[in-house]
Assembly symmetry: C2
Homo-oligomer: 331 residues x 2
């Protein structure tokens, strides 16, 4: 039989109110604190967070919805977010949606029934209407890496346009004029921003972006490989390429190896994310890197802040972070 | 105001028992089922899984404890496990322990208080005593990739000894005699098994394993890089190397690039896991691969089976799966 709060009261001779106050983090006299902790130890008393959740109407669980746990950018952020939230007593329920909007809606429903206190999401698409069921219930939503239409929430973004503009600017500075880009899915915010940055850099150099130099991948390794093949087949005059996420960078490199193209002699290359992979490549790749730890810290901090406010929000925040550039030998 | 089961009773004119039976998946007459579903739709009734959990003493949550979500082997397995469990109505709480045994114990405690129905764990160390708190409470534990002393649970393993023996056998067959190995942490089961396989293959070829040819990494990229450096510095006569996990494979390749060593001319190389990285390398790497999807399917199936049995277990299972080998151009 599991010990109950009544057993602790009996053991310590203290009132239920005092013990309840202790268990809920309230103020208790030092003398009583020691008594209670001894009794907890002795009776093997365990807090039932489920029962507590029902009483306080807080489960202390945060739902997390991501497109792919296998995506290294997601994994790095989620690892850190989970860590930060757990240190504050919050559990996380992570749902991987395999970049499928239908699964994402189901996950939202699933987490609603689980009565999570808040939701952290990196949406697969650009519609976020179904998130309003959370916000209407007064539960905070923090969106990572996307801007959603018509949802009342905080977001943590990266300056994707600036990152792409800077990367392509470096290729232009190195003398390239026929620069290709492997872009992400057209309906994803980050992909649009990165493509916009690419176009902007070209225009600033007096070059009109040509459709033949852009291939639309799907942020996967396979997508990166086939986009690479498409660009090379279509453009024999292309001398440089910018690839706009990590998985596609790996896929593009695989395809470049298959085709026997030499970097940087025949093709200059700038990739995205993952310093280790860039270092493991021959030659070392120049890449844009995103501040995953900083993103995670902002996401966790915003969520914790909103949970404390419990509804009384003074307008929503959109935090925008800067990327970095790691120089390799691929340009 | 959220609709309650009483509102549905009022709307449908049915008894609470009937509605409760429907909500808990019991048998209800077709006519009544339609009535109830219409009422649920109309009243925007939502099942409160938390309250239900308290009544049934089942939360339908499975705890998952892993050493590193950033580790691609972990991420691939967890993605699939989460998917399979969710399709059966189970949520997962994932705790990343950063390969720290103290954090792992805390996570076990944390999940106990959350009253999870079962635990899936890839332990960081080899002691699992604290897992007995789960098994004693009649809650199933499934261990991935480890054998633990004195814990009453199921496990899903890979034939690590056989995998290493086969890989080193290929190097021997190619004529190598001075073969190095980057092994994992000495206290981790998989690392011991892989090292044993390496020694076995050498002995079968009449070679006595020498301590100078083994470096003990820590399953990280940095660990792989420094172990590689150590081996090369110590053994100018080493002609081949076997690296025994993915992160260390990447680290070793980074260090090999730093040192300007040519594969396979100066050093033959067999790595571990991640087909994509092997393909993205120049030359393509030969690697041992683990069946992550199959592991995940077995883990989920065992957990679901034990949850159904609820305590009435007919002895525990240790599933052992075979690895594969992907031929590259690095030997």
């Amino acid at each position: 039989m599991a010990a109950t709060i009544k057993d602790i009261a009996k053991k310590t001779g203290l009132g239920l109110a005092t013990i309840s106050s202790y268990l809920n983090g309230g103020n208790v006299r030092e003398k009583n604190r020691i008594k209670i902790e001894e009794a907890i130890e002795e009776l093997h008393f365990e807090v039932n967070e489920v029962a507590r959740g029902l009483k306080t109407n807080k489960t202390k669980i945060i739902g997390i919805i991501i497109p792919e746990l296998n995506n290294i950018f997601c994994a790095e952020i989620i690892t850190e977010v989970e860590d930060q939230l757990r240190s504050q007593g919050y559990a996380t329920m992570i749902c991987d949606c395999r970049t499928d909007e239908r699964r994402e809606e189901e996950a939202v429903e699933f987490l609603l029934h689980r009565r999570v206190d808040g939701l952290i999401i990196m949406p697969s698409g650009r519609q976020g209407k179904y998130l309003n069921r959370f916000t209407k219930a007064g539960k905070p939503v923090v969106v990572i890496d996307r801007k959603l239409d018509g949802v009342d929430c905080d977001s943590v973004l990266v300056d994707n346009e600036g990152a792409a503009r800077d990367a392509v600017g470096r290729l232009l500075k190195a003398g390239h004029r026929k620069i290709g880009m492997i872009a992400g899915p057209k309906d994803i915010y980050t992909a649009q921003e990165r493509y916009r940055g690419y176009c902007l850099a070209l225009k600033e150099a007096g070059i009109e972006p040509e459709a033949r130099f852009a291939a639309w991948g799907d942020y996967t390794i396979e997508g990166g490989a086939s986009a690479m093949k498409e660009l090379v087949t279509r453009n024999s005059d292309m001398t440089a390429i910018f690839v706009s996420n990590y998985e596609m960078t790996m896929g593009a490199i695989i395809e470049i190896n298959e085709l026997g193209i030499r970097i940087p002699d025949e093709l200059s290359f700038i990739g995205f994310d993952n310093v280790e992979f860039a270092k493991a490549s021959i030659p070392k790749l120049s890449i844009v890197t995103q501040p995953t730890e900083e993103i995670a810290r902002h996401v966790a901090a915003l969520m914790l802040k909103r949970l404390e406010e419990s509804g009384d929000t003074d307008g929503h925040q959109a935090v925008k972070l800067k990327t970095s550039f790691v120089e390799g030998k691929s340009v």
